[in-house]
């Protein structure tokens, strides 16, 4: 307290010294500021500028105003990629949220070897994405793959997971469940943060297992669920590796993810300007979705502290 008063007085009376301090302060934060300017602000402004241009990376960019954004409207592949991405996000995000929650509940039960199970469920998240994709190409193989092996044990016929357009997306969604490790960890942390007193109080009032789950666990966990929903959605919108490694957007453009289409435009078809426009449209889409979710779902979230 004493110190702070002194500092304030110093700031009021001795402008020069405080300017020195301000300079020092800025110097201290300069690495991160510079990093942001060079690696974030500059590329983003450049890409915004480019989105109004036609640029093949070879000749000078030529200004076309809103041309790229107008073109998007009539670009069938753009709509296809948007559809694919929304389909994937719309199904895989809620599914991952629910599955991860159930797994976290199971892993929260005090049983023998609990830490082993926890490690096992987290394990896939340690594997690099590319290795994961290669592994799944084999799991999804229709002749020798594990998945079809189990299906055949159940008496079901084989599915051409990666060759038939209608099955490719379900295959990738099943695969996305493989990566729920980080969600589970967050849920577990949340579950352990719920005070036992709440459950005890409820028990005294005669609450059964279902009541406790519905009226204590879910509300207390709602901030974590909400966080996972937002982050999951943002990540799902930017899905790229699966399309790049496993399907190349096929079959018949059934897995033409938005970011993959963006990549194709930028680096395979020499349309960097168009790709930049696509990037900004994606940015806007994610922003709108996130805002929408905040608007309509945040009131369902219970923040214990506030």
């Amino acid at each position: 307290m004493e110190k702070r008063l002194f500092d304030n007085r110093e700031r009021l009376n001795k402008g020069s010294l405080s300017r020195k301090r301000i300079t020092a302060g800025y110097l201290f934060i300069s690495p991160i500021l510079l990093g942001m300017l060079i690696w974030l602000v500059f590329p983003m402004s450049f890409s915004l500028w480019l989105s109004g241009h036609e640029w093949d990376l070879i000749s000078e960019p030529s200004f076309i105003g809103l041309g790229n954004f107008k073109e998007v409207l009539s670009d069938e592949l753009f709509w296809q990629s948007l559809k694919v991405t929304l389909y994937f996000s719309g199904v895989s995000v809620p599914l991952s949220l629910i599955t991860a929650f159930l797994v976290a509940l199971l892993l929260n039960i005090e049983i023998k070897g609990r830490s082993v199970f926890r490690a096992l469920y987290y394990l896939p998240s340690v594997i690099p994405v590319v290795a994961n994709c290669v592994l799944w190409v084999w799991i999804l193989n229709s002749e020798f793959g594990l998945l079809n092996f189990f299906l055949s044990k159940l008496g079901l016929s084989k599915v051409l997971w990666l060759q038939e357009p209608k099955w490719t997306m379900p295959a990738l969604i099943i695969m996305s469940l493989w990566g729920i490790g980080p969600l589970v960890v967050l849920y577990l942390a949340g579950l352990q943060g719920i005070s036992r007193q709440l459950y005890e109080a409820a028990e005294i009032d005669g609450a059964n297992w279902g009541n406790k789950f519905l009226f204590i666990t879910i509300p207390m966990m709602s901030p974590v669920i909400f966080f996972n929903l937002i982050i999951g959605l943002i990540n799902a919108f930017q899905t790229f590796t699966q399309a790049y490694i496993m399907t190349q957007g096929g079959p018949q453009n059934a897995t033409l993810f938005y970011v993959f289409y963006l990549y194709q435009n930028a680096f395979q078809w020499m349309r960097m300007g168009y790709a930049c426009a696509l990037a900004w449209i994606l940015f806007a889409t994610i922003l709108i979705c996130t805002l929408f979710i905040f608007r309509h779902f945040e009131r369902l979230v219970y923040y214990a502290g506030t």
Partner: protein, 434 residues
């Protein structure tokens, strides 16, 4: 004290002198970029070494890009560090040239004492692939073409005659199907024939053989012409109707490439690129190469990458010197010998020339005759218009997938796909030429 400072001065001047001398003798460095299998890479590196030894004033640095070649190239161009000499995919060549990425080398080519001699290259092919409105922006270093590979044992077992090497005696399609039926045994999962359908090249010759065109002279996709539709349908029928060919999916699923299937006797005939000879000849089985079956006329399709120079290279003279070297007999010979490439120079098809690259362990009987006759009379090159790559991978290939899977007829597929493909091509052309 004085002595020391004097000797220091001496030493410094020596260092200075030596470094100035070193700088003066410093060779000009040019970069050379391309893709290619480990074997091609080894060949390139060997070639670069030989060139560097011959030309102490030039130092060629090779950059190998095994995957995502264009991504790397475009990024380098945008960043101002484009390679001086590089491989240009034939499907991008026109686009590169129109966008001003390539140096016009017409005068150098025409005035060169060796390369410029009439008949140095196998014509009209070299002119057709290199010249854009009469100007050259690149030179090829090889050819590849589509022909047939067959497993002799499978034929012997079925008591069938071998397919002919001579394109003039090429089997009619119906005869080809008949033989394929003879070789097929579903019980043993043995297939008669296979024509890969994942990309354009293996089926292009058949469209042309039936009198159709993949892309017509105006640069439009013409797969909806009746001749092309018929050929496409016939190829798909091999799998879906006559059932003498495996599905592409089946091959993938078996974890076997078509080459392994051929070598293990599970496939009788394979239509594939001549480059496959390099791998097939290493597999342990009796095989032969033959002319493709024909609908109306014998045809094959040729293509290969080109070597090009970046327009803004700081060392155009040295880059040209190196490009010349890449267009020499020496450079293509070693990969021709192992079966990966076919020569693009007439001199290598003379009796003495053939001796330089035909290798008995690699090239089966009659191979030279097959290739020579194809190049002489029955070859074609697909004209790839601007926007080709985009139209192919995002519209044409996906659009034909239902045909190969037997879900739609050729007519249905092309009705839907061709207008879209042509709209894309027109749009891309307009973007570049205004």
């Amino acid at each position: 004290m004085k002595k020391t400072s004097k000797s220091i001065l001496m030493l410094m001047s020596i260092i200075l002198g030596v470094s100035v001398m070193a700088y003066a003798a410093e060779p000009v460095t040019i970069t050379f970029m391309g893709w290619g299998s480990p074997l091609e890479r080894a060949n390139v590196e060997e070639g670069v070494k030989v060139f560097n030894q011959k030309h102490p004033e030039i130092n060629v640095k090779w950059i190998h890009v095994p995957a995502d070649y264009e991504t790397k190239l475009f990024t380098m161009v945008a960043g101002g560090t484009a390679p001086d000499v590089f491989w240009g995919g034939i499907d991008f060549y026109r686009e590169y040239a129109y966008r001003g990425l390539l140096l016009d080398i017409t005068d150098q080519v025409k005035n060169d004492p060796i390369i410029g001699k009439p008949g140095y290259f196998i014509e009209p092919w070299e002119e057709e692939r290199c010249a854009i409105e009469g100007r050259w922006y690149g030179i090829g270093s090889c050819w590849t073409l589509i022909h047939m590979f067959y497993n002799k044992e499978v034929f012997d077992e079925a008591g069938a005659e071998y397919p002919p090497v001579d394109p003039d005696k090429a089997w009619d399609w119906s005869h080809f199907v008949e033989i394929a039926q003879k070789l097929t045994s579903k019980a043993d999962s043995k297939w008669g024939a296979y024509i890969p359908t994942a990309w354009w090249m293996p089926y292009d010759p058949f469209i042309a053989s039936n009198g159709g065109e993949y892309v017509n002279k105006e640069g439009k996709v013409a797969l909806d012409e009746p001749e092309a539709v018929e050929a496409l349908q016939q190829i798909a029928d091999l799998t879906n109707k006559v059932q003498v060919a495996p599905h592409a999916v089946d091959l993938q699923e078996l974890g076997l490439g078509a080459w392994q299937m051929l070598a293990t006797g599970r496939l009788g005939m394979l239509v594939d690129g001549s480059w496959a000879l390099q791998d097939i000849s290493k597999l342990d089985f009796e095989f032969g190469c033959a002319a493709l079956p024909k609908f109306k006329v014998p045809v094959t399709t040729m293509q290969a990458h080109l070597h090009v120079i970046h327009k803004d290279t700081k060392h155009p003279k040295e880059a040209w010197e190196f490009l010349r070297f890449l267009a020499s007999d020496y450079y293509q010979l070693s990969l021709c010998k192992v079966g990966l490439w076919l020569p693009s120079h007439s001199s290598l098809f003379t009796p003495e020339g053939l001796k330089q690259w035909i290798t008995p362990e690699v090239h089966p009987e009659g191979y030279a005759k097959l290739i020579a006759k194809y190049m002489d009379k029955y070859a074609r090159i697909l004209y790839m218009p601007i926007g080709w790559r985009k139209a192919s991978w995002s519209i044409i290939f996906p659009g034909l997938e239902p045909l190969w899977l037997g879900k739609k007829t050729a007519q249905e597929c092309v009705n839907e796909m061709v207008p879209k493909a042509n709209a894309t091509l027109a749009k891309e052309l307009k973007r570049i030429k205004g």
